[in-house]
């Protein structure tokens, strides 16, 4: 019997049309645009200047604060400039632009295919290595992994949960990782368990991926009995951090709290692979698995894509933008961000590129709320989206806080299920940003 979370959720068609496409290496690009803001927190500070020659995996920017991460070059060549360029939402971000010249890797990176199972480093050494290699959470938020693996004083992690739900429709990058490198992910999990000093780990996978579950169960049962593979019901947002913790451990993360408050640390499958590569193979995080998919495309692809590839280049590699594609989404259809500039470049946490046609993206005409409460049923956080929408439009910030708008995880279930096409998520997300700003600005007790 598959486990699941208790409240809300929806069942969109999963559209995993790219699941069968195995991971290919993306062709080398001409110029890489590497953003200095690929993670949550302070942007990294560039340590290279115009004219410097860099190799693949060389440190090009240093972490510049407590919450920040190192950035390494994904290509080899000459730095042609360090300048402000727009990211996918048009915000200006410092970029290191590298003109590619060959493919020379740093000598200390182990590029062999051989799987290294033995973990030599101790807990603190692992965390230092992860920080050095600039690993960030690849589930979407890009939170620096080394900070997540060092719980604040007074808090102790009991469980590590590896998130392999991939509940968003269309995305298959995590699935391909689980099918193609299951052993590596499990070793990555072991490494993080040692860093956190926990005895048990759970590996949550949605049950629409039976092949991955079978494979992982087989390997884990044989070599890693302390990692339990947990099949989860196919239901969106099963892969939400809070939903997954509730489904597997039955614990609820408190409002405005973190998973560590209930003794849990959640890491994504992609992060587990990155941790394995960093600790065992000495390879910093400069590439990731990216699904390029869409019903309008003739061929679905999964790529191992280096950071700093522009969306233009990606479209070129798949043979040009399909004629009827009108919208490009970085991420999944539910929580992904629409790309507003084709000259923006991919970052560490880019997991998919979804092409949608006009018919697929078109919003219906908004009409009045009919009080059907479908949004209330669908909300996985137990909020009342119809009410939050009304309060938000009336700018009633205090009432919004009282109705816990800051607990919204922006999963979009309410918008998906609304029969009146009310832009619930848009208004709620705006108010959430305002309320969180106010809460953070209050003096701490």
């Amino acid at each position: 019997m598959s486990k699941t979370f208790s409240l809300g959720g929806i069942h969109p068609h999963d559209n995993k049309i790219s699941a069968a496409a195995s991971i290919e290496n993306f062709p080398l690009v001409d110029t890489a645009y590497i953003s200095m803001s690929q993670h949550l927190g302070a942007p990294a500070e560039p340590v290279v200047a115009k004219g410097d020659i860099v190799k693949v995996g060389q440190l090009i920017a240093k972490s510049s604060g407590f919450i920040s991460a190192n950035i390494h070059s994904s290509v080899s060549g000459v730095v042609s400039s360090v300048e402000l360029l727009p990211d996918l939402s048009g915000t200006m971000v410092q970029h290191v632009v590298i003109k590619v010249d060959g493919d020379v890797w740093m000598e200390n990176i182990d590029r062999s295919e051989e799987i290294v199972g033995e973990i030599k480093l101790s807990g603190p050494e692992i965390i230092a290595k992860i920080a050095e290699c600039g690993i960030v959470g690849l589930g979407g938020a890009a939170f620096p992994t080394n900070i997540k693996l060092s719980p604040p004083p007074g808090k102790k992690a009991e469980y590590l949960i590896i998130n392999g739900a991939e509940c968003e429709p269309y995305l298959t990058s995590d699935y391909r990782i689980m099918v193609e490198s299951p052993e590596q992910i499990l070793i990555g999990t072991k490494i993080m368990m040692r860093a956190l000093n926990v005895k048990n780990a759970y590996f949550g996978v949605e049950d629409n991926k039976p092949k991955a579950i079978k494979l992982l169960k087989k390997i884990a049962g044989k070599n890693y009995p302390e990692i339990k593979i947990v099949p989860l019901t196919k239901r969106y947002p099963q892969g939400g951090e809070k939903q997954m913790i509730e489904a597997i451990t039955g614990r609820q993360v408190p409002s405005m709290g973190l998973p560590i408050d209930v003794g849990v640390v959640v890491q994504n499958v992609g992060t587990a692979l990155a941790v394995y590569e960093a600790v065992q193979k000495n390879k910093p995080l400069f590439d990731g698995i990216v699904t390029i998919t869409g019903n309008c495309m003739t061929e679905q692809r999964n790529f191992r894509l280096r950071v700093g590839t522009t969306f233009d280049t990606m479209m070129y590699a798949i043979g040009g933008l399909p004629k009827d594609a009108v919208k490009l989404i970085s991420g999944g259809p539910m929580m992904g961000k629409a790309v507003c500039r084709m000259d923006a470049a991919s970052v560490k946490s880019t997991s998919a590129l979804l092409l949608l046609t006009e018919a697929e993206t078109k919003r219906g005409v908004e009409s009045n709320c009919i009080r059907c409460a479908k949004c209330v049923d669908a909300c996985p956080m137990g909020l009342e989206p119809y009410l939050l929408n009304r309060l938000s439009r009336a700018d009633r910030i205090e009432d919004l806080e009282e109705h816990m708008v800051h607990d919204c995880i922006e999963c979009g279930c309410c918008l998906y299920t609304c029969p009146s096409n009310i832009p619930l998520l848009d208004t709620i997300r705006l108010s959430k940003a305002q309320v969180i700003k106010i809460i953070r600005s209050r003096p701490k007790k």
Binding site: P86, S89, G90, T91, M92, V326, K337, A338, C340, R341, T361, K362, R363, P423, D426, T427, R429, L430, A433
Partner: protein
């Protein structure tokens, strides 16, 4: 008969006792309110717009009565005449304030500033600004969704469907500041109405370097500092590649307007001098 008398007497006694209690309670918990507050409130325009900085006309009237000095109080809707009436009623003097008006500091029309992406989400500037930098290359300019129009209680600011920019109606605008607060890009500014309603201002807030700004919008301020150099009154300051004209120092000589290479400086309500087309090539004339 007895029953009737008894009823009347008992009800009267009951009424007297209760009214006595009510009287005592009302004396005990009496709220002393300055009668002048009502008087001041009657003089106010009753728009309840909040443009004065108080919660409404009543709150403003209370504040006026309490305040020793009316110079800091100003009702933008009523203007100087209402403030003179209030001052006269309260028996104090108040200095004349220069009337202000809202100006839109963006001229990124569809021709001047081509769209680079299509926004098909909820029509609200605040929501749009929360999602991304904007649907043109300029990340400072107007988002054209009309939050200012919705915020205006006087019907004074309207979106022009041709340009996609808000237009301020000079007759109706009271400078209450509602649109200034509503605009997430902070494009709208309150400026002095100026002599004979004539104003000069920089109609751009793009802080990018010249080349980037010009590429995004042909009428952007490119930070060339030409206007600053030519200004005889030191009214123009430059910061972050952007010129700003101080309306208190500006003497409306219009030298900067002629000097500006991108036609980013606007003159309003002056007699026509040059046909604008000759001076400002639009994007299709490359």
């Amino acid at each position: 008969m007895n029953t009737i008398i008894f009823t009347i007497v008992s009800l009267s006694v009951l009424g007297l006792v209760l009214s006595l209690i009510l009287y005592l309670v009302s004396q005990k918990f009496k709220v002393v309110e300055d009668p002048r507050i009502d008087g001041v409130q009657e003089l106010l325009p009753a728009a309840n717009c909040g443009g004065c900085g108080y919660a409404g006309c009543r709150a403003f009237a209370e504040a006026c009565v309490k305040a020793e000095d009316l110079d800091k109080m100003y009702c933008p809707v009523g203007g100087n005449s209402v403030m003179q009436n209030v001052a006269g009623y309260l028996g104090v003097k108040v200095a004349e304030k220069t009337p202000q008006i809202a100006v839109v500091r963006c001229n990124g029309t569809c021709d001047n500033r081509p769209k680079t992406s299509n926004y098909d989400g909820y029509s609200s500037c605040a929501v749009m600004a929360n999602l991304f930098a904007g649907d043109t290359d300029c990340r400072y300019g107007c988002l054209s969704q009309g939050d200012c129009e919705l915020s205006c209680k006087f019907d004074a600011i309207k979106m022009d469907p041709l340009t996609g920019l808000p237009e301020v109606d000079e007759e109706k605008c009271t400078a209450c500041g509602a649109c200034v607060k509503a605009c997430p890009k902070m494009i709208i500014e309150l400026r002095n109405k100026g002599l004979k309603n004539r104003r000069i201002f920089v109609s751009c807030i793009n802080k990018d370097k010249g080349g980037v700004a010009k590429k995004a919008c042909v009428v952007a301020c490119i930070g060339c500092t030409k206007c600053q150099k030519i200004c005889p009154y030191d009214a123009i300051t430059m910061s972050n590649n952007l010129a700003y004209i101080d309306y208190n120092k500006c003497k409306l000589c219009r030298k900067c307007v002629i000097e500006c290479p991108t036609r980013a400086i606007w003159e309003v309500n002056f007699p026509v001098r040059l046909p604008r087309v000759e001076k400002a090539p639009i994007i299709d004339q490359k």
